[in-house]
């Protein structure tokens, strides 16, 4: 269960180049990317926070839920985008739709991406109330509203139980080995 106010980022097509600009992709570890999140929107040329950008509004400090427009996370496959979102403190991203690679990267990093109809997303962007997101029951609650969201059962399990995907696949190693024996390429 995640409970916090939401951070509204009302733009469609937020691409991974904006989530983490390329000048920060040179690190060889997975941690410490939160400070680069939305860097070029968040800071000016002198690295001073831009007042008008939503992440710099103290009202949203401590928010764990990011709400944005259509096709969130499009562009580059860089998982650094998911690492930055998680490291900054967001555990849930809500949008009308997500780009495929980013959507997949979220689950690998303990982020829950939720797609909901545009009207609901727009309503969520406007609320100042605390929003409760419960993965187990697949519901979002705020302002005495209760909204159901869909999620693939196996991905839900992975997030809830924090499973190691590679270990799960390796349980099927016999199948992989026998597949390889008959495979031509």
């Amino acid at each position: 269960m995640v409970s916090s106010i939401v951070t509204p980022l009302d733009r469609p097509n937020v691409d991974t180049d904006q989530i983490v600009p390329k000048q920060f992709l040179k690190l060889v570890q997975r941690t410490g990317f939160g400070k680069f999140l939305f860097h070029d929107w968040r800071f000016d040329q002198n690295n001073t926070p831009k007042k008008e950008f939503v992440l710099n509004d103290s009202k949203y400090t401590g928010s764990h839920i990011l709400v944005s427009g259509d096709n969130f996370g499009c562009g580059s496959s860089r998982e650094h985008a998911a690492w930055a979102i998680k490291d900054y403190g967001f555990d849930v991203v809500i949008a009308p739709s997500f780009a495929d690679i980013f959507y997949n990267n979220c689950f690998k990093n303990g982020i829950l991406p939720i797609s909901l109809p545009k009207e609901i997303v727009n309503d969520l962007m406007k609320t100042d109330s605390v929003v409760h997101v419960d993965l187990a029951s697949q519901t979002i609650q705020y302002n005495s509203k209760s909204i159901h969201f869909d999620i693939d059962g196996s991905r839900k399990k992975t997030l809830l139980e924090g499973l190691d995907d590679i270990a799960i696949t390796l349980q099927h190693e016999n199948k992989i080995t026998s597949f390889e024996k008959n495979h031509v390429l």
Partner: protein
């Protein structure tokens, strides 16, 4: 039952099911320096090996310098990332085409060039433009670093089956030099949008696709991801089989494989796609992007659009278009051909193969770059560079005051020192015009190589049909 090409590849690579999802075998895995270090670390932490180093191939491309290779790399952090890949490849026994290799280049240029890419194969890489390899009839998709680790450890991926999306391009281009594969794919993305292909694999079909060379098909498939697609592919034909014959990693039983592929690697008559879109190639003219995503593109004969007109009633698109015009410092109603440029970049996994360079050079012979424009030509690989030099293309470029550089991703994403300065405007043959993509505050217009070369000479965009 009649099947699409994609469904055949999917079915023939399905190893098992895990919790309702599919375990898909991966035939070829390409690795580069930026998205792999954390994956190798993960293997070490969990004491895992690389299951099939013989099916894994590495090169360094994203942040390598495109200047003199005999000099040390000035950027210490880039140097560290490159060294890390060398160490990882050595430790795990993975073949590496390093900085001093004659086969070094952009991962999606060298895969086909070396015969690593094969029809009917599944191919992955930690890079979204892996869709390029689909030009050979492969199912090729970009993945994140956790999945890179997953493939290194298991040679498989757990995937949900994408839907199929037929893209028909019928008819013939009116001018096969001035109107390129880049113009076809930009025209498609303009219509289907940047999310139009989400969750699908595109199959490009029709007369205009059959007419394309392999280099051109790679340009098409490369940009499938800009339409949001998981992958894009073209059914292999004789051009495909001829291209891949006799390359460094072409399988020994290649002729036998080709005979089998000829019968099987195509969409069956009567097979159904989940979605379809059609466009007439004879109606396509040169394209220039004006905004901050690839769907914000216009015909070269048009003007910068009005945001409301562009948005067609979608308020968030209207805001996005307004923001784009502000970022790009453009006014609605300005003819595209009046837009002046400061820089030209001819390169990237979209447009840095031999044919791209031949087309760009064809238009500049005996001309000079506009004195206000700095032009960089960055071949896609060392092999492309060598062949171009054998043809004398380097001399044509240099005579026109175009810089002729070493191979790499370069200014497509500007991880190395090749970047735009704040406010600079660039005609670029790359794939993304996102804010800051080519350098913070830089402004990118996506075009074909021949359009980029013509703009370099004129100092502004021109309708290259008037030149050829």
């Amino acid at each position: 039952m009649a099947k699409t090409l994609f469904e055949k590849i999917w079915d023939s690579h399905k190893v098992d099911e895990i919790d309702g999802r599919s375990l898909i075998y991966i035939d070829r895995h390409m690795v580069h320096e930026v998205t792999s270090p954390q994956a190798f670390d993960g293997l070490r932490i969990n004491k895992r090996r690389v299951r099939r180093p013989d099916l894994t191939f590495a090169t360094m491309d994203h942040n390598v310098p495109t200047t003199n290779r005999s000099l040390p790399i000035a950027d210490q952090i880039s140097a560290m990332q490159i060294k890390t890949l060398e160490k990882n490849c050595q430790e795990f026994g993975i073949p590496l085409f390093g900085l001093d290799s004659p086969y070094q280049g952009i991962v999606h240029v060298i895969g086909p060039e070396l015969g690593i890419t094969l029809p009917g194969a599944t191919i992955v890489c930690g890079d979204s433009h892996t869709s390029t390899h689909g030009a050979f009839g492969a199912f090729a998709l970009g993945i994140g670093t956790s999945d890179v680790e997953h493939v290194l450890a298991t040679q498989c991926l757990v995937l949900d089956k994408p839907k199929t999306f037929e893209i028909r391009v019928d008819g013939k281009r009116k001018n096969t030099h001035a109107i390129t594969a880049k113009d076809i794919i930009l025209s498609i993305i303009k219509k289907i949008g940047t999310a139009g292909g989400n969750g699908t694999v595109l199959e490009y079909r029709g007369q205009a696709i059959s007419d394309l060379s392999m280099d051109e098909r790679m340009t098409m498939c490369n940009m499938s991801i800009e339409g949001g697609a998981r992958a894009g592919l073209v059914a292999p034909d004789q051009k495909t089989f001829d291209y891949l014959g006799g390359r460094k990693y072409t399988p020994k039983n290649y002729d036998e494989l080709v005979e089998k592929w000829k019968d099987t690697l195509k969409t069956d008559d009567g097979a159904k796609f989940d979605k379809s879109f059609a466009i007439d190639a004879s109606q396509i003219i040169p394209q220039v992007s004006w905004g901050t995503n690839p769907s914000m593109t216009a015909d070269v004969t048009e003007s910068v659009p009005d945001p409301a007109e562009f948005a067609k009633g979608d308020s968030s698109q209207e805001i996005a278009a307004k923001n784009a015009l502000q970022y790009m410092d453009l006014k609605s109603g300005t003819p595209i051909t009046d837009i002046k440029i400061d820089r030209v970049f001819i390169g990237s996994c979209t447009n840095a193969r031999l044919q791209d360079l031949v087309e760009a050079a064809s238009i500049i012979k005996g001309r000079k770059a506009s004195p206000n424009v700095r032009v960089m030509v960055v071949p896609g690989s060392q092999q492309v560079k060598k062949k171009a030099e054998e043809m004398g293309l380097d001399k044509i470029f240099k005579d026109a005051n175009f810089e002729w550089r070493e191979s790499g991703c370069s200014m497509c994403l500007g991880m190395n020192p090749d970047i735009l300065s704040r406010g600079e405007r660039c005609a670029s043959t790359s794939n993304r015009n996102f804010e800051g993509r080519q350098g913070a505050g830089g402004r990118t217009h996506l075009v074909s190589p021949i359009m980029a070369a013509a703009a370099a000479i004129a100092g502004h965009f021109v309708d290259v049909r008037e030149w050829v």
